[in-house]
């Protein structure tokens, strides 16, 4: 077991050993060996949990240059950088030359011989990673409790960092809320954040006590307002083209928090002079973004990473097929859990079973494919007729948040629409992608609360935001603003719109809520609304259910295809006006989701009929509603 500690506590030792070995017998390929070594080590059963996680262990408990893991989201990609992959040092006293390995490190020994012909230059890519945006608290807790058991013996870690521990303790332990407050109050895109903090860096070093205040000035660029957690500069050495913006990753890397990094940045700013070409290259703003103090934004030198298909801690990480045991046990329970969930949602949706049914379908929807521009499988739900009393929509959101791994509540107030930054925008001065609320990982539940909308005027930004939301819903894409051009990033977000009447945003499916509770009693009913407690086994079953249903494969057999076609032709015969291609599109999605929610991976005739049935019910209800409101389009 001692070896385990070696590769976790001192991974650079492992790297150095391999580097030296290759150097002596001149067999190349030590780089692959390192990658392979860590991959092998992490394959072992407990190994993953043995590695401390940056998500739940405060930074100052972690030992510098040790192996850590980080569950994160690629928010921005910086330019590739060239570094000294291997270099020679000269001992000033003995003049002895030594080859050193520069990989997985930020800093080199000082006595570098810059003119040595043995220097090997190499290239690496930096990604700016933030914790998964919108991750529900239960997910965080669950992940933390899984790894915590092995990590926390903090006493052995704490003393290892003599130099910064005082400030860090101060900062991290006492001010996490403070640090967060200004952020959540002004929102992520407050213009003040960018200005007037030219001196903040100096403040930091001079007065550590004020660090918490100045730290908030350092905009960590979280996509969603009110987020917290460490962000990280992940340095990738291999195969960086395979990473994509907005990927969810679990990275294993060597933590680098050397204070030199911030000192270097600091010193550069002060000594900026006319004669050094490297100084004028970056603006102060760029400097701040690309070289933030390591105590706030640590560097991670990636040795192994895994793309996350989901961030549900209750499900196995790997592809479903490989976990047949898990899969079969869940599948057998699916129908039962679904029934329970339906009952529960009916309770939440004021006794409306049909709406509950659609809510389930919505929550397990997933863009599983794209045909040229058309995303397949999306199922945006517009829940109209929501009561405006007793902050019903907020309650609904909290319940959904309890069930899905990541979610975000966007109250569509005029202020939010006009002022919030939804679409990420490239800031060329600081050379970074300023995040927006629509930069979220896949399968995030976006809850748009239109009941909050009041009369007023949308300004230009507001119109752009509404357009962006519309594009997101219709095409599942967000056009990032690169100032001179736009760039399209596909996404996969479950959008739920709650509104009083029909939503102003497009949707795949509108259902009007029909409360079974008399309006006078709604408020009372709401106060007694049952919110699932975090630990109950039932709620975990729901979470697994929603997660698994989304990942299942699905197919339609030829016979069913035939009968679906027949059905469609018949329906068109009866009433060609009311059944269009769009309806068939929707019915196919509903049938798909309905089958999956029952744990069936092929469409059967029953499910098709049932899909048709609930669609009919929903349509009649929408028609009725139109008659009631009259003037609605």
């Amino acid at each position: 077991m001692s070896s385990t500690h070696d590769w976790i506590n001192n991974p650079l030792g492992v790297v150095k050993e391999m580097f030296d070995m290759s150097h002596n017998n001149s067999t190349s390929g030590w780089e692959e060996k390192v990658v392979k070594f860590f991959k092998e080590q992490l394959k072992e059963k407990d190994a993953r949990t043995a590695v401390p996680s940056l998500n739940d262990v405060p930074l100052h408990y972690l030992k510098p240059n040790s192996l850590v893991k980080f569950r994160c989201f690629i928010q921005d990609m910086f330019d590739p950088e060239f570094y000294m992959g291997a270099y020679e040092t000269v001992d000033p006293s003995s003049k002895a030359k030594m080859m050193q390995c520069g990989k997985y490190k930020d800093v080199a020994e000082c006595s570098v011989d810059f003119h040595s012909s043995n220097t090997v230059n190499a290239e690496r890519q930096t990604f700016y990673c933030v914790p998964v945006p919108g991750e529900s608290p239960w997910v965080k807790e669950r992940y933390a409790s899984e790894s915590q058991g092995r990590v926390v013996p903090s006493t052995s870690y704490a003393p290892s960092r003599q130099k910064r521990s005082y400030e860090d303790d101060d900062d991290m332990d006492t001010h996490p809320q403070k640090q967060r407050e200004p952020n959540s109050a002004v929102g992520p895109q407050s213009p003040d954040n960018h200005h007037g903090n030219a001196d903040c860096k100096r403040q930091e070093t001079e007065a550590p006590s004020s660090q918490a205040a100045s730290a908030s000035h350092l905009d960590l660029n979280f996509p969603l307002p009110g987020e917290k957690g460490p962000s990280c500069l992940v340095k990738v050495y291999e195969d960086w083209d395979s990473f994509k913006l907005n990927d969810m990753l679990e990275v294993y890397g060597i933590l680098s928090v050397s204070p030199v990094l911030s000192v270097l940045a600091d010193e550069k700013e002060t000594s900026s002079s006319l004669l050094d070409p490297t100084d004028s290259m970056e603006t102060a703003a760029e400097q701040r973004v690309h070289c933030p103090p390591a105590s706030l934004v640590p560097r991670l030198h990636l040795v192994h990473s895994q793309r996350l298909l989901h961030n549900n801690p209750l499900m196995p990480l790997t592809v479903m097929e490989q976990n047949t045991a898990f899969l079969s046990s869940t599948l057998s329970e699916m129908a039962a859990v679904r029934a329970e969930l339906l009952t529960y949602f009916t309770h939440v949706l004021l006794g409306d079973t049909l709406a509950a049914e659609y809510l389930i379908l919505h929550l397990i929807s997933n863009v599983y494919n794209r045909r040229d521009v058309l995303p397949l499988g999306k199922f945006t739900l517009n829940l109209s007729g929501c009561p405006t009393v007793g902050s019903y929509t907020e309650r609904l959101y909290h319940i959904i948040q309890q069930l899905v791994p990541s979610s975000f509540y966007l109250g569509m107030t005029l202020q939010n629409l006009n002022q919030m930054r939804l679409v990420p925008k490239k800031d060329y001065v600081a050379n970074r992608l300023v995040s927006g609320a629509l930069q979220v990982p896949k399968n995030t539940s976006l809850f748009l609360d239109e009941t909050r909308l009041e009369q007023g005027q949308l300004d230009t930004a507001g119109v752009h935001n509404v357009t962006a939301l519309g594009n997101l819903i219709s095409w599942q894409k967000v056009d990032y603003d690169f100032n001179f051009h736009q760039m399209e990033f596909p996404c996969n977000v479950n959008v739920l719109v709650t509104s009083e009447g029909r939503s102003l945003l497009p949707s795949d499916c509108q259902i009007h809520l029909q409360p079974q509770i008399p309006p006078s009693q709604i408020e009372e009913y709401l106060s007694s609304l049952h919110v699932p407690s975090d630990s109950s086994s039932q709620v975990n079953k729901f979470r697994i259910f929603l997660g698994v249903a989304r990942l299942l494969d699905y197919s339609i057999s030829d016979e069913v295809t035939k009968s679906v076609e027949d059905d469609f032709v018949d329906m068109r015969k009866d009433d060609p006006q009311s059944v269009s291609a769009e309806d068939l599109h929707r019915m196919l999605v509903v049938a798909r989701l309905l089958s999956l929610s029952l744990g069936q991976t092929t469409l059967c005739r029953d499910s098709w009929m049932r899909a048709k049935h609930i669609e009919m019910q929903r349509k009649t209800r929408v028609e009725q509603q139109k008659c009631v409101n009259g003037n609605e389009p």
Partner: protein, 814 residues
């Protein structure tokens, strides 16, 4: 403050005149006449130029080239002896020179020089199409002519296309790319020797500088790697930021504060070796830097970002820092698309003696040697160059193979938006729009440019995937814009004037139509557009320009964009009993500017429903792989279109022209009998454009009859769909243009023939009653004959000059 000092320099020439080095940085001295009059111009070269060979040429000052880095006094090495050769005479002897190379390279100065001179004197490129070479005799040595140009114009810069160099001497080219820092000064030397031999009397501001461009190793920013450091590279990108001018010190001027003696120190790699003691009076630490007598050169930092086209999906664009020097400063503005040629540099972090460790990262940048704007002339003329995408040989080959397939047209059409079911003709129309016609310039004869772009309007029931088609097209073309009629205003489409927040100046911001110049502007919900907004489209859709007169800015911008619009019927459902105009409520002036107007209707027929259902179901469950096999890849389609648009510009063949004339005359005939104009020259132009586009699809340089046939067919199909008068059942040209559905025409002809026969069989009375004739015809025919149909038949016979109708009587003619 140092900039202020700089500006002051030319006004106080007294101090500078004394120094022999002063004229060397002539860029700072505004008046060249002063140089001519200065006797110091000629004579001893500056002390710091001793190491460089350029000073030898007739006293024309050499200008430092900061783009090549500080002048490296690299020793030449004899390969055999491995000893640095200090004696320059050895190098000048051809036999000894063979083995003499610049240290660290395989470049021999003399051989390199000779080779380059030979290149300049002999290189001929008869096929050159570059605009720079306009006016040059292509059969004469190209660069010799350019030298002549330099002697006349006096701009001492020689741009050399590396592609030419490579085709002439591959070895020299390799050396240039690998050791630009050594080879380019050699070129400079060679060209100046040559120039002053040929034009000994010409006067230049400073010596000619060679600027190679278009290094064949043209790279995507993403593919730059550590091996490219210190090599000559060409990359393309977009300027995103330019810094202010940075005065960079080239030579520091020190003066002794005790005795006033001065010393000049050249800046070497950003460092000045400050003299520790005065050489004159030997007092130590007495030398002080005098700023305004030091020499500075201009420098500017430019940030380049990858062009959006060559970026892999799902990643963010990379940026790179570029330094422009001297006269290249301020040559580019943010937003420009440029190709830059320069030397890729990496600067290591300097070790700081105070610290025990150093960041192991290099800073990289490019020292630019040559800028080439790719969209230079966008606002002025045609820019076929700009569109030029580099295709690999293989790709071109495979595209050509594809073009030879007999069903290439159908194939491409079905590859277009495969997720949208059927609507074959609409897809074909859009395909032709993507290719566009050939550009024709009639500005000589006063009509200006003819529109080459095809405009298409789709109208029809909501939910018939019109928007989806638009989205697809928008995603397919490199310069596409997507707007919605609901959300766009006139200014959003055209251009607006706003105050730049930084400079407080009025600037013109271009809107969607201008941005999609040379592309396609997709406008959804065309009908929801306000009249005001729509009116700007009139100019764009025919003249292809946009005139703006607001806030003191009066200009005409090019907007050579094809418009693909989608409109919904006013009553939300298409009313088949109404005409297109009534259904979409668009002014006919605008409608007539569309080459093709398609209806996308729900056909409501069982077989169609079944096919549709099958298509949709399979869409939802077949995997990506199966679908891919059936259709062409989107990227192939993209390349195919780009290739055809760039390289193919078909011309009408004789037969095709005849066919077009016939088609046009036919169209004119249809309505002429009824005393109305049924086809305008506009329709003829549409047909020509469509035929040309179809020829482009076949990669054919000639428009053949088959192209005309298809254009006619498509045009007719579109009209049949959109210009049919629902009341009379035939296409009425007063709605849109002209044309008639095939069935209606057939029926009319039948009735006309029956009528004629009937009249012939009857007694030849010259006049008949209208009503009577109708009743007789009705009695005779098996199918019902409506009054309208009867009228039509009469009109058809009248067209044949068989009879005339006057009031209620029908008279036979002849």
């Amino acid at each position: 403050s140092s900039i202020g000092d700089l500006m002051a320099m030319p006004t106080s020439p007294g101090t500078d005149l004394l120094s022999p080095a002063a004229p060397q940085d002539t860029s700072l001295l505004s008046s060249p006449s002063f140089l001519v009059s200065s006797p110091l111009m000629y004579g001893t070269p500056s002390s710091r130029m001793e190491g460089t060979p350029r000073s030898g040429v007739r006293g024309t000052p050499a200008r430092q080239r900061p783009d090549l880095g500080s002048v490296r006094k690299a020793p030449q090495v004899d390969l055999q002896s491995e000893q640095p050769v200090s004696d320059a005479t050895v190098g000048s002897e051809p036999s000894g020179g063979q083995r003499l190379v610049i240290w660290g390279t395989d470049v021999n100065v003399n051989i390199c020089k000779e080779k380059f001179q030979r290149f300049v004197q002999r290189f001929v490129d008869p096929t050159s199409t570059e605009d720079e070479n306009a006016g040059l005799d292509l059969n004469e040595p190209l660069y010799s002519q350019k030298l002549e140009e330099i002697s006349v114009v006096g701009d001492p810069v020689l741009n050399v296309n590396c592609r030419h160099l490579q085709s002439f001497d591959a070895e020299l080219y390799r050396q240039l790319v690998s050791y630009p820092q050594e080879v380019i000064p050699t070129f400079d030397m060679a060209i100046n020797d040559l120039f002053f031999d040929r034009f000994p009397d010409s006067f230049l501001e400073y010596q000619i500088q060679v600027r190679p461009y278009n290094a064949l190793k043209t790279r995507n920013m993403r593919s730059l790697n550590p091996e490219d450091i210190d090599q000559l590279i060409t990359i393309s990108g977009m300027v995103i930021r330019t810094s202010q001018l940075i005065p960079e010190m080239q030579e520091a001027f020190f003066q002794c504060s005790i005795c006033g003696a001065s010393a000049r120190v050249e800046v070497d790699r950003g460092r000045i070796a400050e003299p520790a003691a005065c050489r004159h009076c030997n007092v130590s630490h007495s030398m002080a830097l005098i700023h305004n007598r030091s020499l500075f050169s201009d420098k500017q930092m430019v940030k380049i970002q990858e062009s959006p086209e060559d970026m892999p999906a799902g990643q963010t664009p990379h940026t790179i820092v570029v330094y422009a020097h001297n006269d290249l400063v301020d040559k580019v503005q943010p937003g420009d698309r440029i190709n830059i040629t320069g030397i890729y540099r990496a600067v290591p972090m300097r070790a700081n003696p105070l610290q025990s460790s150093v960041k192991s990262v290099y800073k990289t940048h490019i020292d630019v040697i040559h800028f080439r704007k790719t969209d230079e002339k966008r606002l002025h003329g045609l820019d076929e160059d700009a569109e030029q995408k580099l295709f690999t040989e293989d790709r071109v080959q495979s595209l050509k193979e594809l073009s030879l397939k007999p069903d290439v047209y159908e194939r491409l059409a079905s590859a277009l938006a495969p997720s949208i079911y059927e609507h074959e003709d609409i897809k074909k129309g859009i395909l032709l729009q993507l290719f566009g016609g050939s550009r024709k310039d009639f500005s000589q004869t006063g009509r200006g440019h003819f529109r080459a772009e095809v405009n298409i309007l789709l109208c029809g029931d909501p939910g018939t995937s019109k928007s989806q088609l638009l989205q697809y097209v928008y995603n397919l073309v490199p310069r596409g814009q997507y707007t919605s009629g609901k959300g766009s205003s006139a200014v959003g489409l055209t251009a607006y004037v706003m105050k730049d927040p930084e400079t407080r100046q009025l600037v013109l911001q271009t809107g969607a139509l201008v941005l999609s110049d040379n592309g396609i502007c997709c406008i959804d919900e065309f009908d929801k557009m306000s009249d005001n907004t729509r009116s700007v489209l009139h100019e764009v859709m025919e003249q292809q320009t946009l005139s703006i007169a607001k806030a003191g800015i009066i200009c005409q911008l090019n907007a050579r964009t094809a418009v693909l619009a989608a409109a919904n019927p006013v009553e939300s459902q298409w009313n088949p009993k109404k005409t297109t105009i009534e259904n979409i409520q668009l002014p006919h002036t605008l409608l007539s500017r569309f080459d093709l107007i398609f209806l996308m209707l729900d056909p409501q027929d069982e077989a169609y429903d079944r096919r549709l259902a099958h298509h949709l179901v399979s869409l939802y469950y077949h995997g990506e792989e199966q679908m891919e096999e059936e259709f062409l890849d989107m990227s192939v389609l993209k390349d195919y279109i780009a290739y055809a648009r760039t390289y193919i510009s078909p011309r009408l063949s004789e037969e095709a022209s005849q066919a077009l004339i016939e088609a046009y005359v036919d169209m004119r005939k249809i309505g002429s009998g009824r005393g109305m104009v049924s086809a305008y020259p506009r329709q003829l132009e549409s047909l020509i454009r469509l035929s040309e586009a179809h020829a482009k699809v076949r990669f054919s340089e000639r428009v053949e009859t088959i192209d005309v046939e298809e254009a006619k067919r498509l045009h007719r199909e579109a009209l049949k769909q959109s210009a049919t008068d629902p009341r009379t059942g035939f296409v009425d040209i007063s709605i849109l243009t002209t044309g008639m559905s095939a069935t209606a025409r057939k029926r009319k002809e039948e009735v006309a023939q029956a009528l004629k026969k009937m009249i012939q069989t009857k007694a030849r009375t010259p006049a008949m009653k209208y009503q009577q004739l109708l009743e007789e015809l009705r009695a005779q025919s098996e199918t019902a004959v409506t009054k309208e149909l009867f009228d039509e038949a009469l009109r058809a016979l009248a067209d044949e000059d068989y009879l005339t109708v006057t009031g209620k009587t029908v008279r036979l003619l002849a």
